[in-house]
């Protein structure tokens, strides 16, 4: 079985990260924005795992790291959803571009 | 605590007394302020006497240490005075007493806060003149900013807030430039003590850095002095601040610029100042003539005096540029002399404002008719300002020109045009007010009362004493002069 080179993972992760970032910056729906952020974090996980397996000094650390990342990503979304619900109660909507009450 | 510390912190007695007294009736507040303003005066006379007696006044107390690499930088709380500063201290306390006295009839509201800020200001100024290292100097220098800001902003004239901001911005910039320069000295010389820093730079050969620091000094003190084109704030302050405050401002605060230029500029970096001397001379010339010609066309007495101050500060610059004994002594004399004269002027302006509510030259005329004594004092102040022999202004102008002619006769010759212009604008302004026909616009005016006459007379006596027998202060500054001259190599 030929191993897929490390670069391939890295490029995939990079693409994933960029897609996530693009979505996070452009989508109106807050939930999609949150999902896109998840996408970015998953790109990180991909990186970590790939490095863990194929990097300079392969080891388990990268995978452990990615576990932490997943957990925290989950927590982030949970908090995000909670806040969004509070917002929804006020504005009856989930569009991120409507959040412009605070500005100069 | 030595006498000097006692002196520097003595204004706090008044401040605390006022604080403890709380908001009393106006009269009590004023009485407390007046009496406590005498304490620094008494102490400063004591300091002067001790200095004359030759007893050491310096104090030192370790304060902060920095370790930069193998270097340990120490900041001390150290006070000391030399001939120049002891005279300026005396000037400060005298003018402060008079300003407090005169403000008691000028300040109608919130006198409680006013006097507290005045004492804070006096504290800062005394500290500036007593500090023996640059950091301490800077700290006191900055401390003067805050009370000045409020005093201008709260009790000033029409554009008081704008003037206050203009004051704080210009002086803030100046002091920040100073701070960088001080930091640079601190780091390179490892000390900020005046004499130690001077010693260091005498032997070091970092010419570029020294020149940079010298230019920074020139800018920083140039704001304070002020040097064209950094003068706008000062005109505003002169015009819009309460006259009692301008007594201190024009009388003492501007002198910090001269003091700094002479003591740090020439004292610490004589070599760079020799390089800069032509520039300083030209700046001085510009100040002298620019101020004089502008003073000629002003329609407001206080603007005339403001530009006149700029013009007179040009003379200080010329003296500094001369970099010889006569020039520097002249600059020192001019600092003291201009301090006294402008204090007298603004004392009179305050007196006038109480009566007429305006100092517009178009509105004033023939004041000598109803208030001959006030008019007489104005005239005398003008004569002092234009350098009439027998008054302090002459001695300083003569000495400066004596100095500048040795090194830069051409600059000196052009500068003498300023002497002529001074006469022209001074007489124009003062004669416009006091001479001519009296137009009855202000109703009945009383001439000076005792409370006004005495402060004015005290200032006048100081001016005349220095003018008639300049050795009263000349002998005191000789030691400073010698120290400076060693640096210049003259």
């Amino acid at each position: 079985m030929t191993t897929i080179p490390l670069q391939a993972y890295l490029i995939l992760a990079l693409i994933l990260f960029c897609i996530g970032l693009f979505g996070a910056l452009t989508k109106r729906n807050t939930i999609i924005v949150l999902i896109c952020i998840e996408l970015m974090l998953n790109a990180v996980n991909l990186n970590l795992v790939a490095f863990s397996q194929l990097g300079n000094n392969p080891g388990i650390t990268g995978q452990v790291f990615s576990l932490f990342t997943i957990t925290i990503a989950a927590a982030e979304v949970a908090v995000g959803m909670a806040i969004l619900i509070a917002w929804y109660r006020h504005k009856n909507g989930v569009n991120v571009d409507e959040m412009d009450g605070l500005k100069d | 605590m030595g006498t000097l510390s006692l002196l520097v912190f003595s204004p706090f007695i008044g401040l605390i007394a006022l604080l403890l007294a709380g908001k009393q009736s106006d009269n009590i507040t004023k009485r407390i302020a007046a009496f406590s303003s005498l304490i620094p005066l008494i102490l400063s006379i004591l300091v002067y006497a001790q200095y004359q007696a030759g007893s050491g006044l310096s104090e030192i107390l370790r304060w902060v240490q920095f370790e930069v690499g193998e270097q340990t930088l120490t900041l001390n709380y150290e006070l000391a005075v030399d001939g120049f500063s002891v005279i300026l201290i005396l000037l400060t306390t005298i003018i402060a007493v008079l300003a407090v006295f005169t403000s008691s009839w000028q300040i109608k509201q919130n006198s409680h806060l006013f006097f507290m800020l005045m004492f804070l200001l006096e504290f800062g100024i005394l500290g500036v003149f007593s500090a023996d290292n640059l950091i301490l100097f800077f700290i006191f220098f900055e401390i003067t900013l805050i009370p000045m800001f409020f005093l201008i902003g709260k009790w000033g004239g029409t554009d008081r807030e704008e003037s206050a901001f203009s004051y704080i911005i210009y002086n803030g910039l100046g002091s920040m430039v100073l701070l960088i320069a001080i930091a640079a000295i601190f780091v390179t010389a490892g000390t900020t003590n005046f004499s130690e820093a001077a010693e260091y730079f005498r032997t070091s050969n970092e010419a570029g850095l020294q020149l940079g620091i010298a230019i920074a000094f020139l800018i920083a003190f140039g704001v304070k002095l002020p040097i064209f084109p950094l003068h706008s704030w000062m005109v505003k302050v002169h015009v819009h601040a309460p006259p009692a405050l301008v007594m201190i401002h024009a009388g003492v605060l501007l002198k910090i610029g001269a003091y700094g230029l002479i003591k740090f500029g020439v004292g610490i970096l004589p070599a760079s100042f020799t390089t800069l001397a032509p520039l300083i001379a030209i700046l001085g010339l510009v100040n002298l003539l620019y101020g004089a010609y502008l003073a000629l066309v002003q329609e407001e007495l206080r603007s005339v005096l403001a530009y006149s101050s700029i013009s007179h500060m040009g003379i200080i610059l010329l003296g500094v540029a001369a970099l010889n004994e006569a020039g520097i002594q002249g600059a020192i004399f001019q600092s003291v002399s201009h301090g006294l004269i402008s204090a007298l002027f603004f004392l009179l302006v305050g007196i006038l404002l109480v009566r007429t509510r305006t100092t517009n030259l178009r509105k004033l005329s023939g004041l000598a008719r109803l208030t001959p004594v006030l008019a007489g004092f104005f005239l005398v102040a003008a004569l002092a300002g234009l350098g009439l022999p027998g008054m302090s202004g002459f001695v300083s102008e003569f000495t400066v020109f004596l100095g500048i002619f040795e090194n830069m006769p051409v600059i000196g010759a052009i500068g003498t045009l300023g002497i002529i212009m001074t006469v022209v604008y001074m007489l124009r302004a003062i004669l416009k007010m006091t001479y001519g026909t009296y137009r009855n616009m202000f109703g009945d005016m009383n001439d000076l009362g005792m409370g006004e006459l005495i402060p004015a007379t005290i200032l006048l006596i100081c001016i005349v004493v220095i003018g008639v027998y300049p050795n009263t202060i000349a002998l005191t500054v000789q030691q400073t002069l010698e120290t400076l001259l060693v640096g210049i190599g003259g």
Binding site: K103 | V297, E325, L383, P389, L402, P409, R428, N471, L485
Partner: protein, 618 residues
């Protein structure tokens, strides 16, 4: 007695202080106090002078200003020259104090007037006793102050205000020359003492060019003070002051200080023929220039003022042609007869309350004494034989001739001729002809005014005999005693010169008589002529100055005002605007859109990376 010489300036100073502080309390008495003290001053001065004749020289010094290694002193110097001046000033001052008692009677600021007068006297006495140039300069300025205060005594009059200002400024211009000169001199000789300066000149410590430069600069000071062309315009205006002031300051003493200055610095001038030449030319030109103006003026005091300028020109001319004693002698005699003329004019004005000679006439009926003393003064100034002016003026002419300056000699002769013409024009118009004033307007002249006039009249007649080739050259001998550098430049006079002077003087008087008494010439014809208008308008010098220097200065001031408004302020405004713009832009970009915020951050990252790559080459 001579040790108490310091009392001479101190006493009038005391009067000044006393009167200025107690002017409300003393009121009328202040006049008597002033007269009394000035009398004492005169007595002290006389005693000192008498002792000085024996002693010859006297010097007292105190350290005054220490500047590092430089030590400037203050002191008293007495020598023949300033001893003579001292006496002269103290004497005339005393007389004029007395005269003022009557003249100023009833004035609201009676005490103030005497205070100012005393201040001036003090300064003038201090001036002549100065042992060094700086002290000289200081008193020089202080006499200017006295003059200023007294010219502007009627402060409520706009013209007085302007005149006072002008006097101060014009003389200040000259003073600056003096100041530069003395500073340059200091750096040449390292001293300001007269003796050291003489020494330096004698030793040849200074280059010739430098001596000339300094001499000319110092002469500029003299020009200013002595009303020489081109700084003369203040002197006629100075007549705005009360007349006793004109007599004391603007005729007898202060204006002569310029001549005195040249005399004091004489060694310096002697070392530079160019400087001497300039002094002579300026003097001669001023003499004829002022005389021509004096011919047509209609204000009594103005004519006298121009006459003063002209006479001062004579003195300068004398100085410029090595006629040291002649110049001082003329100063001496001029002090008496010009003071006399002014006092006489003052009593006329006091009596008739006008200064316009066109409104006067026939006053010799009403003011007999005044008319007589005026005539004496006029004869003296015209150089009528045996009057004091005759001797001094003749000596000046002799000096000019002896130096071989024939051009200047002719000018001097013409000027002398014009002097008699305008003086007698004045005399005839004021005291002869028909009276144009209603008689009841004429007030009697009080005794306090008469006595000084009579005393001065005596001196105007006889003071010439102090220095004649007939009876002895006392003054010249005395002066030369104290000034060794004057040896061997004595100009003897000759009979033909005396005759010439007499002819010139009589000719002038005769011409005036023909024109103004006999009306031999049609005066109306001139009045339209350009020359007449030019003379009447004083060669348009005032207008010239007004349009150039005064307007010019104001123009520069206004120009700077523009710089202030549009350059300095604009820079500030620009910076202010810049700050505001940045501030507003920064604030506007804060839209409230969370995604924009991150987008900006991401953009920052991209820029960050891009710049890095461009720079680092990755």
């Amino acid at each position: 007695m001579i040790e108490f010489a310091w009392l001479i300036p101190a006493l009038p100073l005391l009067t000044f202080l006393l009167l200025i502080v107690l002017r409300e309390k003393l009121k009328k008495a202040s006049g008597y106090v002033a007269v009394l003290i000035s009398g004492i001053t005169f007595i002290v001065a006389t005693l000192v002078f008498l002792q000085l004749i024996d002693v010859g020289n006297f010097l007292m010094e105190w350290s005054w200003l220490t500047i590092g290694s430089i030590d400037i002193s203050f002191g008293i110097l007495l020598n023949p020259l300033n001893g003579l001046m001292l006496l002269l000033v103290a004497f005339i001052s005393f007389l004029i104090h007395m005269y003022s008692l009557g003249y100023m009677d009833g004035d609201q600021r009676f005490s103030t007037f005497f205070a100012y007068l005393s201040l001036f006297t003090s300064a003038m006495l201090g001036l002549v006793m100065s042992p060094n140039l700086l002290q000289f300069y200081m008193f020089w300025e202080l006499v200017g102050l006295g003059s200023f205060l007294l010219i502007g005594f009627y402060f409520y009059k706009n013209s007085a205000k302007q005149a006072a200002k002008k006097a101060f400024i014009m003389t200040r211009i000259g003073d600056v020359g003096l100041l530069i000169g003395l500073i340059l001199l200091f750096w040449q000789t390292n001293s300001l003492r007269f003796v050291d300066i003489y020494q330096a000149v004698t030793n040849g410590d200074m280059s010739g060019g430098m001596i000339t430069l300094i001499a000319i600069l110092i002469f500029i000071g003299a020009i200013g003070k002595s009303g020489q062309f081109p700084l003369h315009t203040w002197l006629p205006d100075a007549m705005e002051g009360p007349t006793p002031v004109s007599a004391l300051i603007h005729a007898a003493t202060m204006v002569a200080a310029g001549v005195y200055l040249v005399a004091v610095m004489y060694p310096l001038y002697m070392a530079s023929s160019l400087a001497m030449m300039i002094v002579a030319i300026v003097g001669a030109f001023t003499a004829i220039y002022a005389a021509t103006i004096g011919l047509v003026q209609n204000d009594l005091k103005q004519v006298l003022a121009y006459s003063t300028i002209s006479q001062l020109g004579f003195m300068m001319l004398a100085m410029g042609v090595l006629g040291y004693t002649a110049g001082i002698f003329h100063l001496f005699t001029h002090a008496f007869f010009k003071a006399l003329l002014f006092l006489a004019a003052g009593s006329v004005i006091h009596a008739v309350h006008t200064q316009n000679i066109k409104e006067m006439g026939g006053l010799n009926q009403k003011l007999k004494l005044t008319s007589a003393v005026f005539l004496i003064g006029a004869l003296a100034i015209s150089g009528f034989p045996l009057f004091s002016g005759f001797f001094s003026k003749e000596e000046i002419l002799a000096s000019v001739w002896a130096e071989g300056q024939y051009g200047l000699f002719i000018i001097a002769i013409v000027a002398a001729f014009l002097t008699s013409v305008y003086m007698f024009r004045l005399y005839f118009l004021v005291f002869h002809g028909e009276s144009k004033l209603t008689l009841d307007k004429v007030k009697p002249v009080p005794m306090t005014m008469k006595i000084p006039m009579m005393v001065l009249a005596l001196f105007a007649i006889f003071s010439g005999f102090f220095n004649t080739s007939w009876f002895g050259t006392y003054i010249a001998d005395f002066l030369e005693e104290g000034a060794t550098y004057l040896e061997g430049i004595h100009h003897g006079s000759s009979i033909w010169l005396m005759l010439l002077a007499t002819v010139v003087s009589l000719g002038g008087i005769a011409l005036a008589y023909l024109i103004y008494v006999k009306n031999a010439l049609n005066q109306e014809n001139w009045k339209t002529s350009g020359t007449y208008q030019m003379l009447l308008n004083k060669y348009y010098m005032d207008e010239f100055y007004d349009n150039t220097f005064v307007k010019g200065s104001r123009g520069i001031g206004l120009g700077f005002q523009y710089v202030e408004k549009y350059f300095v302020r604009l820079i500030i405004l620009f910076i202010g605007d810049l700050v505001t713009t940045f501030s507003r832009t920064g604030s506007k970009s804060q839209t409230g859109q969370a995604q924009t915020y991150t987008a900006v951050a991401f953009l920052g990252l991209v820029l960050f990376a891009a710049v890095y790559m461009l720079k680092g080459g990755y």
